[in-house]
Subunit: 265 residues, 2 copies
């Protein structure tokens, strides 16, 4: 079994040093709980509600930044995945997520589907998330709105990904009483249609008037929520069987991937 | 507004005449409630749990069968969509759905994704569902397992479909207490990711030991269930704004279709 943790923290806009301290503490806490994979929110080092690109640039990091040395030092044996505001070698800003362990950076992924006003600040990534082969499973890193595109979530399942790990900042949308957030419903559907594990780490708090869904969840390959945080900061933690994702059959004659009609689409 | 009705009836395996009477009565009931579109279950004229292809063949119909004259006579001003076991001109059996109105057959769609033992009985359809331009909206007809393939549901939204109407027979799967059925979760996700209306008509009862989910739902373009039946036979009915599906934006800079990265997939 693989122990997944989503650390739903509450970063403060622009407070780089404080956010690095907060997120590093959250990693250490998750590792103390035995986590093999730790997921942090989108833009965990910077906060989200930038007034403009200049403000984002003031807290942009390169993947070689010492902030990530702090994450690595806290990682123990775990893989850590978290969002940050990236300054590219090309001088452009990206809404990125880094995957790292104690030995170094495994990969940086740049969000390919930018949400709303992010388009005024960031450049969209040029490549879909690869399947990262880590010692704790085959992982695809996505950021927030990426999850809403079945084209991408299907592709990584076809590529053999066992776990989709997604830092998000879900702005709160209204929903009927008793219903899960729409984004959680899509995460559940994604898991069951592809028989993959989906771990989503949302953020807590209210930032510059923007409330968040606080919807962190870990979803098993049957599509059921096996851990969640609820309102406020906290840790969602669950043991999942990543090997179970290799079997895409539901019955004797049903296989979710081989049943696709690749002759028609 | 367009009034959609899903008639969750309980057909009996092999009882063609009784099922035509039952389904025709359900159409008449929905029309009496003002329905503009009436959806019936998968294999509504035949039942589902065929022992083998010979049994299916014994109740297979052509789209010209008088059974559908009965449906047309009950249709009033409505469009009727329902599942049946089709005998093709090629002599093969298809798990099909017919769309008709009082003037005649609009289209017959042959299920393209066959579920489980259906593969031992039916031939899979050779074409994805077209966008049917009817006087009650642009409708895509799908059958059951088709809904689980985002490739198809996305395509019809791109094609301008306002309503996905799906006859289904959902075999009951276990689920955690308090959760909606997984298939409903996928229907909700499909609606919100594409901003389309999804109307699913399941069946009631237990057939040859197979219990059904009885999960008929009508889902609005925000992804919320606006009508459902629950256990037992019954009618789900809702007024939906199909015109609202033309607007794929969620915020000033978010458009669910134009935000796709067609340069990457």
């Amino acid at each position: 079994m693989t122990r997944i943790a989503c650390a739903q923290i509450d970063p403060a806009i622009g407070a780089l040093a404080a956010n690095v301290e907060l997120s590093t503490g959250a990693i250490a806490d998750a590792v103390a709980h035995g986590a093999d994979v730790v997921v942090l929110p989108e833009l965990a080092t910077s906060g989200y509600m930038f007034a403009d690109a200049d403000e984002a640039r003031s807290v942009a990091l390169r993947p070689t930044d010492p902030a990530f040395d702090a994450w690595r030092a806290a990682a123990g044996d775990a893989i850590v995945i978290g969002g940050f505001c990236e300054l590219g070698d090309d001088g452009l800003l990206y809404n990125s997520a880094i995957a790292l362990d104690r030995d170094g950076v495994i990969a940086t992924y740049r969000k390919t589907h930018l949400w709303d006003r992010e388009k005024l600040i960031f450049t969209r990534g040029a490549a879909l998330p690869p399947a990262l082969k880590t010692r704790h499973g085959a992982i695809a890193v996505m950021v927030c709105y990426d999850l809403e595109f079945g084209e991408v979530t299907r592709q990584v399942a076809v590529d053999g990904v066992e776990l989709i790990a997604a830092p998000v900042n879900w702005p709160l949308f209204p929903r009927p009483e008793g219903e899960r957030p729409g984004e959680v419903i899509t995460a559940m559907s994604t898991a069951r249609l592809n028989r993959v594990v989906v771990a989503v780490c949302d953020r807590a708090g209210v930032e510059r008037g923007q409330p968040w869904t606080q919807g962190s969840v870990i979803v098993d390959p049957d599509g059921w929520v096996v851990a969640e945080v609820g309102p406020g900061p906290g840790l969602a933690i669950a043991d999942v069987d990543l090997f179970a994702t290799h079997d895409k059959t539901l019955t004797e004659y049903v296989d979710l991937l081989s049943d696709r009609r690749l002759d028609l689409y």
